[in-house]
Structures are given as structure tokens and as C-alpha cells.
């Protein structure tokens, strides 16, 4: 697997760190126990296309949103995560 970082270009996997599924959103402070339990512990664990958070620690140190197929490891899109200098690459 190689990831094409929008800031640095194509780089080998060892430069990146994985956080996981980009879909879960931290619930509001008053959302209640069920919502927090769901956010922290439950996963869709998708077999197929998944949107994920990766960190380019060995390069630009930006957070990236990567669309990847968990069945094949094929990467179809890499975008800067929200707030990670997205404006600089026009995303």
C-alpha cells in the first residue's frame, strides 16, 4: 500500500499512522450514555469501501481522509481532513 498525500505526493505506508473509521462523530456532551458507548466502542467494521483517518507523521504531519477498500487495500481517494490545511490544496 502506498498513499498519495495531497501535500507530499506518493509515499510508502510506513510514514502513515492509522486512526480508523472516519464516520463516527463525537457526540455532544449531553448526548447520553448510549451515544457515547456507540461512539467509543461499536464499529461498522466495513468489508468494502471505507472512509478512514490517517496521519502523515513521517511527512507533512497532516491528518488525511482516505477512501480505501478493506477487501483489496485499493485506495480510491485521499483528501486533507477538515482543518488540515485543506484550503492550501484547493480541497
Amino acid at each position: 500500500m502506498r498513499i498519495v498525500c495531497p501535500f507530499c505526493g506518493e509515499r510508502e505506508l510506513g510514514e502513515f499512522t492509522y486512526l480508523g473509521d472516519a464516520k463516527p462523530v463525537r457526540p455532544a456532551a449531553d448526548a447520553g450514555e448510549d451515544a457515547v458507548y456507540d461512539y467509543v466502542y461499536l464499529r461498522d467494521n466495513i468489508a468494502g469501501m471505507m472512509s478512514e483517518n490517517w496521519y502523515h507523521g513521517g511527512g507533512c504531519r497532516a491528518w488525511l481522509k482516505v477512501t480505501r477498500n478493506t477487501l483489496t487495500h485499493e485506495i480510491s481517494a485521499v483528501e486533507p481532513a477538515a482543518g488540515a490545511g485543506a484550503a492550501k490544496v484547493g480541497a
Binding site: 499512522t17 480508523g20 466502542y41 467494521n45 466495513i46 468489508a47 477487501l71 487495500h73
Partner: protein, 417 residues
Amino acid sequence: MKYSIFSLARAALSGHKNWQRTWRDATPKDRYDVVIIGGGGHGLATAWFLASEYGIRNVAVLEKGWIGSGNAGRNTTIIRSNYGLPGNTGFYELSMKLWERMEQDLNYNAMVSQRGVINLYHSDAQRDAYARRGNTMRINGIDAELLDLAAVKKMMPFLNFDNPRFPVQGGLLQRRGGTARHDAVVWGYAHAASGLGVDIIQNCEVTGFVTDTNGKVTGVETSRGRIGAGKVGMAVAGSSSRVADMAGLRLPIESHVLQAFVSEAIKPLIPGVMTFGAGHFYVSQSDKGGLVFGGDIDGYNSYAQRGNMPVMEDVCEGGMALMPMIGRVRLLRQWGGIMDMSMDGSPIIDKTPVDGLYLNAGWCYGGFKATPGSGFVFAHLLARDTPHEEAARFRLDRFRTGAMIDEKGQGAQPNLH
């Protein structure tokens, strides 16, 4: 077919041409008392214990591919019971005791070899942690010995004791740990379970659950037709989320890939199983002479059964730090398997919120050693509807209640367990 020295002699005299198949490749019946999804070690062990311990013999094991085609044949064959937390300690020792009598119980040679498992330590803090774990084991009646540097040097003189950054200081040894031939474990349970009437059905993929009007599971839809069931047990680690999804369940599990490696065969070198405490590297030597080793999971969600280069490099670096001479040995094979990484690094053996559906999942990358214990306690749960006392903490709701069993102390980050 009962195996003995006499059956071996008879077969030898007839040129080994008259061996019978060791288990029946069954076709599905309309209904079973218990249907187990997953023909790996855990599923087959569950069927065997249901039939032998709990008297439930109208049992089917459904396997999507061929038995043992998943993680049962992809692991590094290590057996041990050196766990430190309540919930794990007793369970893995139950499993170890079942390993010790498995071959007699099954009438099958699984090449269980108690050649010892040693975890090396490289700092004072790590020594103290290992001493504590060893004491926990001994308090619970499990063998453990804390070795100093001289004892490790005597046992494994080939290690790099001059590594200035991670000096070997000693190790925690469990002599009863060791290895077993993983394929033979699958075949042995299939042999014994089939002999008691269990139907082992291959090339039979579960495609959905059948429920009655109350939502109780009463069977499964499969690629070989509908099969009715009194109870359904899932033992499909790696694919647990996908199968549970068919029943409308979301699990506290992520699927990750773990790689393993075998070198070319060399003369006997490594006395038992050895782990490097300053990185993540574990190694043993197979009876054929190959070094069997592995390390961390790759760290990203995957169902692909293959990994990538950074972890290969990391594993080989760990090996080189510990015994630099393996740099002269060529890597023969490398492969990957899909792990159920749970949110605390411990398994789940419990009823599900769906009536009639039982879950055996979340083995992370430690499922092989648990094979007999897992089968035993899952059979207990299926037969009695109450958890076995040694598995009572492996609850599905522990993530909600906070009663986690986090052996590594990493929190809810599955790729770090």
C-alpha cells in the same frame, strides 16, 4: 477409525493404501439442535465438547470454505497460559489443561509439544512487571519461573547479549507452554466430533438468519439451502462483524490483518517459543526446521488476508535485534490472517441480544492457544444457557458496564492491542 500403534502397523503392512477418511464430509439435514457457524478450530472444538461433554450430538458445523482454511492454519501455533488479569488467567489455564489431554481425548496426534515459552525482559521495569505476572500465575496454580541473565544465557547462548539499547536481562518462562500442529488440531476435532455424529458441512456459506415472529433465531440461510436450528453459535473470528450484521448486530470489533513468517529450514536452534520484550517479535522453530515468527498486526482495517511491507520490516528488525545471525537465513513464506480485534484485547463469549444466537468472537491475535478452552466454554454456554465460570467475564456488555479485560492497558483502540 481408532488410531493406535496397531492401526499404524496394519496400514504400514498394506503400504499405507488403506487409510480411511478421518471424518465425514456431510450433507446438510433439515434441522439440528445446534448449528455452529465456522469450521475452524474453535467451531469444531465447540462441536466436539457439545457431543462429548454435554451429550448434544445433533450438531452441524457450517464452513464457508474447507475446515481450517482460515486462521486455524495461519497462526504461529503457540500455546501458553501466561495471562495476568482475572478472567484471562483462569480461562487460558483451563485451555492449557485441555491441550495437555487433547490427544488422548481425541485419539489424534496434534503434536502438542510443551517445549516452553519464554518472554524476555530488557529493563528493570519490565522485570518487575513480569515478576508480577509470574506471581499471579503461580498464585493461580500455573507454572512460571523468572529467569535471570545467567539462566537465559545457558538456555539460549545464541542471543545478542551485547545489545546496548535493549540488553537482555532475563525472562519469564512457562515450561508447560509450547506449540501444537495447528492443522492437526482442526483435523483431530473434526475426527472426534464426526465420530460422535456431528455433521461437518463444507462449502456452506451462511447468507442470513431465519427468525420466528418473536425475533428468535430458528435457523440459517446458506448457500446449500435453509437449515433449521434450535440454537446458532457463531465462531467466525475475523468475519464476526459481517455475520453479526446479518442478525442486525454491531459489535465492539474491528477486523485487522496479522502476518506470520517462516524461514527456510535450519538445524535445531531455538529450544522453545521466545519473545523479544523490547519490540514485538515472537519465534519458535517447527519440527521441519523452519523458524516460525511474527509480530504486530498491520494496524489498519482489513479483510484482505495479506499485509504490507512496514510490518514485515518491523518484525525482521525485532528478530535481528535479538539474534543477528538470522539475517543469514532466507525468508521462505509469509502470509496474513484476519483478526477480530476487540476493544479491550480480550474475547467475547456470550449470548447476544438476539434470542437463540450465541457469540464466540474477538480473539484478537491470541485465538489459537484458546482453541480447546474456547470450545469447552462455548459448548457449556450453548448447552446450559449460562456462561462457564471460567468465561463469565467475557461478556458482550462489558464495554458498556466498564468491566473491561484490558491485558495491555491500551483502551478502546483495537489496532494497539
